[in-house]
């Protein structure tokens, strides 16, 4: 099947999945006790039943469930995800404003984790009795065992308090002036610690995966063939073996995107990174349902998009994968 057709099929499935996610989210949140009216009434220090009913009517909460769902879905098709009472902004604008920060954090952490993890895995597989192999084992134990927020706090203590070389949080320094380069460097400076924190678990995961896959591939007959052709060891490793070992890493990396995004929520909270994670935390505490659903919608969208990208990458790496 040509790639374009596979891609179209995937996008079609993705849209259906997104609709299902919307309906499910909406249903789950409607079932949960309490709504904005309760929250507003609470903020006002208590209100009588008629006021609460009036608030419910204003937000359309007095309508039957199916009508509410219909209105919401109809809105989504106009890119209108409702209005946030708490932030007093349309949800779409609110989420789109925060999305780039989260994407930057998530993508850079994934790229770092995949790159470093694969490199460590390859070097460890090459020499199973070497110090690097022990390092990979140690790193993966540490990465799996240490909670993300704890790693983050440790890094803050080390590189903000003791050796103050990184800013404590946020995404940019308002005092920095200059062109886009100065701005970009400033963002990179702020990004470093949260990125390392978020990547730490995944470096552990990918290095173990890459090591296991490489160890298997290095014993394969075609690796022996490459050596018998006189291919230098480095080329054997990175051209003949690694491409065959990448499959499992790419597959898992694609599946992990959802978990990286949830990990980002915690990391953003620790480093007050102005992304979707901090927004999610605020809106959950405020029972700001439209915003929560908007965030869920966009994170589902991101996960689906990255799954489609993963599929394309897998096909580029391994020509044996066929069909939809």
């Amino acid at each position: 099947m040509p790639l374009a057709r596979i891609l179209l099929t995937r996008i079609g499935y993705g849209i259906l999945l997104l609709l299902a996610v919307l309906v499910l989210n909406f249903t789950l949140i409607s079932i949960a006790p309490g709504d904005i009216a309760d929250s507003i009434a609470g903020d006002m220090g208590g209100a009588d039943a008629s006021v609460i009913a009036e608030i419910r009517a204003r937000y359309g909460l007095d309508q039957p469930f199916l009508v509410q769902l219909w209105r919401y879905m109809a809105g989504v098709f106009r890119f209108d995800l409702g209005y946030s009472y708490f932030f007093e902004t349309p949800v779409t604008a609110l989420v789109l404003e925060r999305l780039p920060a989260t994407l930057l954090l998530v993508v850079s952490a994934q790229v770092l984790a995949i790159g470093l993890g694969v490199l460590l895995g390859v070097m460890a597989a090459r020499n199973p009795n070497g110090a690097l192999n022990t390092l990979v084992t140690f790193l993966s134990l540490f990465g799996f065992a240490a909670p993300v927020f704890w790693t983050g706090i440790l890094l803050i203590i080390a590189f903000v308090s003791i050796f103050p070389i990184f800013p404590v949080g946020g995404m940019r320094d308002v005092t920095v002036e200059g062109g886009w380069l100065a701005q970009a460097l400033d963002i990179a400076h702020h990004l470093f610690l949260p990125m390392i924190t978020l990547a730490s678990i995944y470096i552990a995961l990918y290095s173990r995966l890459a090591r296991a896959a490489m160890q298997e591939v290095l014993g394969a007959d075609y690796v022996r063939t490459a050596r018998a052709k006189g291919v230098p060891e480095r080329t054997v490793l990175y051209k003949h073996a690694l491409r065959n070992a990448l499959g499992p890493v790419v597959t898992v990396a694609g599946l992990q995107f959802a978990s990286v995004i949830s990990g980002a929520v915690v990391v953003e909270a620790v480093f007050s990174w102005p992304g979707l994670g901090t927004l999610a935390l605020q809106s959950i505490l405020a029972r700001d349902t439209p915003t929560i659903m908007g965030i869920l919608f966009f994170s589902s969208l991101v996960v689906i998009v990255f799954n489609i990208l993963t599929d394309i990458v897998l096909r580029m790496v391994d020509p044996r994968i066929k069909g939809g």
């Binding site: 063939t225 018998a228 006189g230 044996r320």
Partner: protein, 327 residues
């Protein structure tokens, strides 16, 4: 007689295993002249493939190590050469094909690229010239529509085609020696015959010396000029194919020949039973002091259990390592 092209002299390869050290190759000496086909036969695990890997400098180490002996290619010592120089010899001076065509080709690279890579490495050819050579090689191994097949991935080819591709890879730089390690074991009988024909044709055209490792006695009889029989890491008999096959001296060689089924157009009333050699190849970790074949040998004498027989010239014009044959 001029010096042989490939001269293997008394190589010893040891493997450290959990059960102790195993001597995988025990003073193996072989030589191949230019344009000659040398057959190496023996059961699985008797050291045939390890001999091939030793020539290539590809003995996995650890656990293996070549402890002594020398391997000379046209007078040049290969044992102890640094890896970078060995890389220049592999694929250029000595080509090798393996027994598993299904898994010996890299699944993520086109077959054209796998042939061209070797040409680029050893001859410094441009990518375009290397690919042109790859197509030419595919044509030489009689693959139809070679220019299209060059763009195919291994999984799109049949087993016989893949073995042809392997041969094309091994011969792409016109090596002086080709080591074929059971090149037809995994293939259908009809395809086996085609591959052997192809090897013979290519050998005639290019003058490549071939080390043919096989347990197909028929193939040896048909293709090889000389044959070496290996058992438990040692060469037990070697000589010209005609003499060894018609007048085998070692009981193991006789056993191997008796195991080959014959096609008879007129079966006699009483068929001679197909023979087998009783027992199995011994574990290399606990070889006794005597002849390794003694426990399975029908004609053994007391001396066989006490002392290893040396490889010595027989009156038939070939060499055998057997006390009984000498007596």
């Amino acid at each position: 007689m001029s010096a042989p092209l490939l001269d293997i002299d008394g190589i010893v390869v040891d493997f450290s295993t959990r059960a102790g050290d195993a001597r995988v190759l025990d003073h193996v000496s072989l030589d191949v002249a230019e344009g000659e086909i040398l057959g190496i036969v023996g059961e699985s695990g008797c050291g045939k493939s390890m001999t091939a890997l030793s020539i290539m400098g590809l003995v996995p180490q650890p656990p293996g190590r070549l402890t002594s002996g020398s391997i000379r290619l046209a007078g040049r010592e290969l044992v102890g050469l640094p890896e970078s120089e060995l890389c220049d010899i592999r694929g250029k001076e000595i080509g090798m094909i393996f027994q598993e065509p299904m898994s010996s080709l890299n699944p993520v690279l086109t077959v054209g690229e796998q042939i061209a890579e070797s040409v680029r490495l050893h001859e410094g050819a441009s990518p375009r010239a290397a690919m042109a050579r790859a197509v030419e090689m595919l044509r030489a191994v009689e693959i139809p529509e070679a220019d299209l097949r060059a763009k195919a991935y291994p999984h799109q080819l049949s087993g016989g085609m893949r073995q042809r591709v392997m041969i094309a890879i091994a011969l792409a730089c016109r090596p002086r020696v080709l080591i074929a390690d059971e090149p037809t074991t995994a293939l259908d009988a009809t395809v086996q015959a085609q591959i052997f024909d192809l090897l013979q044709d290519l050998q005639r055209d290019m003058g490549t010396a071939i080390v043919l490792i096989t347990h197909d006695m028929g193939a040896v009889a048909e293709l090889a000029d000389r044959v070496a029989v290996m058992y438990a890491g040692r060469v037990v008999e070697k000589g010209a194919v005609g003499t060894v096959l018609s007048d085998p001296r070692h009981p193991y060689t006789r056993g191997l020949i008796a195991c080959v089924p014959h096609l008879e157009p007129d079966p006699p009333a009483v068929r001679a039973p197909l023979l087998e050699i009783p027992g199995v190849v011994p574990a290399l970790t606990d070889l006794g002091r005597g002849c390794a074949f003694a426990p399975r040998c029908g004609s053994r004498i007391a001396r066989c259990d006490a002392e290893k027989p040396p490889l010595e010239a027989m009156d038939g014009g070939h060499l055998t390592a057997c006390w009984v044959a000498r007596a």
